[in-house]
């Protein structure tokens, strides 16, 4: 039986998140806008939720649609303006998932106000930026593209190591190797055998690789 307290995510991201989805009323943060944040938004959208993307004029809707985001149920607010906390709160009233990048640093007071709105509305706030107190934090530790040579080929797929940690039930860090994106534009779990050596050997990612292989 699906958990009604969470918004579903695409299959490949389930293992990264406590309870296998985005807990309603919580804040999920990624340090920077990218395909990972669009992938997180794609699941709820494909499941019928309305999504808003705020303050990210460069959001690639085509890539998001490839991941499963439904453009018909998406609102874009490219510029949030000066009163952005109010705009984000308004978006949270209407949409179950709001992906946004704060134009200015969010003060503790602003964060508390938005989190209170969030708990009332049972939506999920997906922040592309810094958000102290986020329940879950995801980040790409290492990534490498395949398909491109020295003057030939084309970009095919990207193998990325994603780490999730956070507070409470998300406290234990979880790591996954993902195709972000796979060659067909979707997200898939990467088989350890397929991980390109040059990505896995990245010194910054070395320790994490070991954990994954050991953990199965």
């Amino acid at each position: 039986m699906p958990d009604v307290g969470v918004l579903p995510v695409v299959a490949a991201l389930r293992d990264l998140l406590p309870r296998g989805g985005l807990t309603r009323g919580s804040v999920v943060a990624v340090p920077e806008f990218g395909l990972l944040s669009l992938a997180l938004a794609a699941g709820p959208s494909a499941d019928g939720a309305w999504c808003a993307i705020g303050g990210i004029p460069e959001a690639g809707v085509l890539a998001a649609a490839g991941l499963g985001l439904d453009p018909e149920r998406t609102l874009l607010v490219p510029e949030l303006g000066n009163s952005w906390p109010q705009v984000v709160a308004s978006l949270l009233d209407g949409c179950e998932l709001v992906l946004f990048r704060p134009p200015t640093r969010a003060s503790a007071q602003v964060r508390q106000r938005l989190e209170a709105t969030l708990r009332r509305g049972r939506g999920v706030l997906l922040v592309a930026g810094d958000w102290p107190g986020a329940q879950v934090r995801l980040r790409v530790m290492a990534q490498g593209w395949t398909g491109l040579g020295d003057g030939h080929g084309r970009l095919r797929s990207c193998c990325a190591e994603v780490i999730a940690d956070g507070r409470g039930e998300a406290g234990r860090p979880r790591t996954s190797w993902l195709w972000l994106p796979a060659e067909d534009g979707t997200v898939a779990v990467a088989d350890p055998a397929d991980i390109p050596a040059d990505v896995a050997d990245d010194p910054a990612a070395g320790a994490a690789t070991l954990r994954v292989v050991n953990g199965g």
Partner: protein
């Protein structure tokens, strides 16, 4: 064929130099630019409204001249001369020199009104029109060339012209002559174009003293909306949008258009007024704008009410909750701040997604239906068909980061020299380093290209010629870059 009886009111002092039939709407909007003309137009507007007391369907023929079918009003008031006298008296009250002419057909009535008899009313009895026209000089035909020619041929009056056989006139003078002959013999068949005028359907509430509290304003807005809806309903009309205008104590005005489509209730209109006032207060931080002195609702794009059909399939139905949220944001940031994306075709990553402001109905192509070309201009580019092949499109997964405006970049080779691409698409050296904007340089670990793209070469303004590359840098990121006129630009990023 008997001619319609026409009553023409002509105010010689208000006939502005602009010739030709101006729509009444244009008059109302003050299309006449010069001050004196505008004053004349305003005065004439009052004349027209006075005339409309006698007959609601009045055609404004040109500035200073209006006309209506005399039959109905004549029967109601007990005679054509009685109506004419009453109208002349009504106009005289404005201190305007007004002449009234009644005759069979518009042409004769215009001449009758223009006839320089001392009397304010020129009455041509039914059937006497050919006789009246017969005495007029050919110069009244408003065709100087033809009139001059006729004059030299010894045809001095319309009576002379009407006496000639129509076929001969037509063969000698062509279409213009035929038309003149028809007018001269009193067979002018131009029907009156008497549409009911565009009415002012707006409703206004003044506040004295200025109202500073939100609640009474919202309450007043609800009452105003009820009044406006009642007026529209009584006429069988509805509006596509509604304009809410609030004038503040310091003279500033907040005006916003809201989608209505005949679906909003008075309470929902009041909600929108509340959001708009909230947004205004938030914007005007610091120096408060004071209270509101007047609130005005204007139905915009009034159309006949035909009932509403909600979409059954196709477009995802926007739930009330989403619509309310989107409109709240629109109240804060403006109509075009909330967009809905639409996927389309095209060779460039930036043109494959187009946007339309939230609340715009239907497809972008349908926009013409509302005649709003300019308003949503730049966002309203038509999307290119997605189903057609777009050779030259970058294959593979779409980039997650698509810069709305490309970012400048520097690409250098191993020797530190800028990498260039020749006109024949030959690259000067393998790219080795990429610096985006003023950022630190990143080492390039893989690259492919150049893929040339020449678009719209037939249009000098829109033509573009670029060579595109995919680059991978040592931080694991991939970039879509393009060289155009020797400059490197980053169009998109893959991460």
């Amino acid at each position: 064929m008997t001619q319609e009886r026409v009553l023409v009111v002509r105010c010689p002092t208000l006939c502005t130099p602009e010739q030709g039939a101006l729509e009444q709407g244009a008059l109302e909007q003050g299309a006449l630019e010069q001050g004196a003309d505008r004053q004349a137009a305003r005065l004439f507007e009052r004349v027209v409204s006075a005339v409309m007391e006698f007959c609601p369907r009045v055609e404004v023929v040109e500035p200073g001249v209006c006309a209506f079918a005399a039959r109905g009003p004549a029967r109601y008031f007990g005679g054509e001369t009685i109506v004419a006298t009453k109208i002349a008296a009504a106009i005289a009250r404005f201190g305007v020199d007004g002449r009234v002419g009644i005759a069979d057909g518009m042409f004769a009535a215009l001449l009758a009104a223009g006839a320089a008899t001392g009397d304010a009313v020129t009455f041509i009895p039914p059937g006497a029109t050919p006789e009246f026209l017969g005495g007029q000089p050919v110069s009244v035909l408003d065709d100087p060339d033809l009139a001059g020619l006729l004059h030299r041929l010894g045809i001095r009056t319309l009576g002379d012209l009407a006496g000639l056989p129509e076929a001969d006139v037509a063969s000698r003078f062509g279409a213009a002559g035929e038309k003149a002959h028809r007018l001269a013999s009193g067979r002018d068949m131009r029907p009156l174009d008497a549409r009911p005028p565009a009415q002012d359907l707006s409703v206004t509430q003044e506040f004295d003293p200025p109202e500073t509290m939100a609640e009474p304003l919202v309450f007043a807005a609800k009452a105003l909306a009820e009044r406006m809806h009642a007026t529209l309903n009584a006429k069988g009309l509805t509006c596509v949008r509604i304009q809410v205008q609030a004038t503040w104590e310091d003279g500033r005005e907040s005006s916003r258009l809201w989608r209505h489509d005949g679906l909003l209730t008075a309470v929902q209109v009041a909600d929108r007024v509340r959001w708009q006032l909230d947004a205004w207060r938030t914007d005007a931080l610091g120096e408060g704008p004071g209270g509101v002195v007047s609130l005005r609702l204007t139905p915009d794009q009034v159309v006949r009410a035909t009932g509403q059909q909600l979409a059954l399939w196709g477009e995802a139905v926007v739930t009330d909750r989403v619509a309310r949220a989107a409109m709240r944001v629109q109240a804060l940031l403006g109509h075009e701040a909330v967009l809905r994306p639409r996927l389309g075709g095209g060779r460039n990553v930036s043109e494959q997604v187009t946007h339309r402001p939230f609340g715009e109905r239907g497809e972008l192509g349908e926009k013409g239906e509302f005649g709003e070309k300019g308003e949503f201009g730049e966002k309203g580019e038509p999307s290119l068909p997605a189903e057609q092949p777009w050779p030259g499109r970058i294959p593979g997964a779409a980039p997650a980061v698509v810069y709305p405006v490309t970012r400048e970049a520097t690409v250098t080779d191993l020797a530190g020299q800028p990498v260039t691409v020749s006109g024949r698409c030959v690259i000067s050296a393998a790219p080795a380093q990429l610096a985006v904007g003023t950022g630190r340089p990143r080492a390039i670990t893989g690259w492919a290209g150049p893929w040339p793209l020449t678009e719209r070469w037939w249009d000098p303004d829109a033509a573009s010629r670029r060579a595109r590359f995919q680059l991978v840098t040592d931080d694991g990121r991939a970039w879509l870059a393009a060289v155009s006129d020797g400059c490197w630009q980053i169009e998109a990023g893959y991460w």
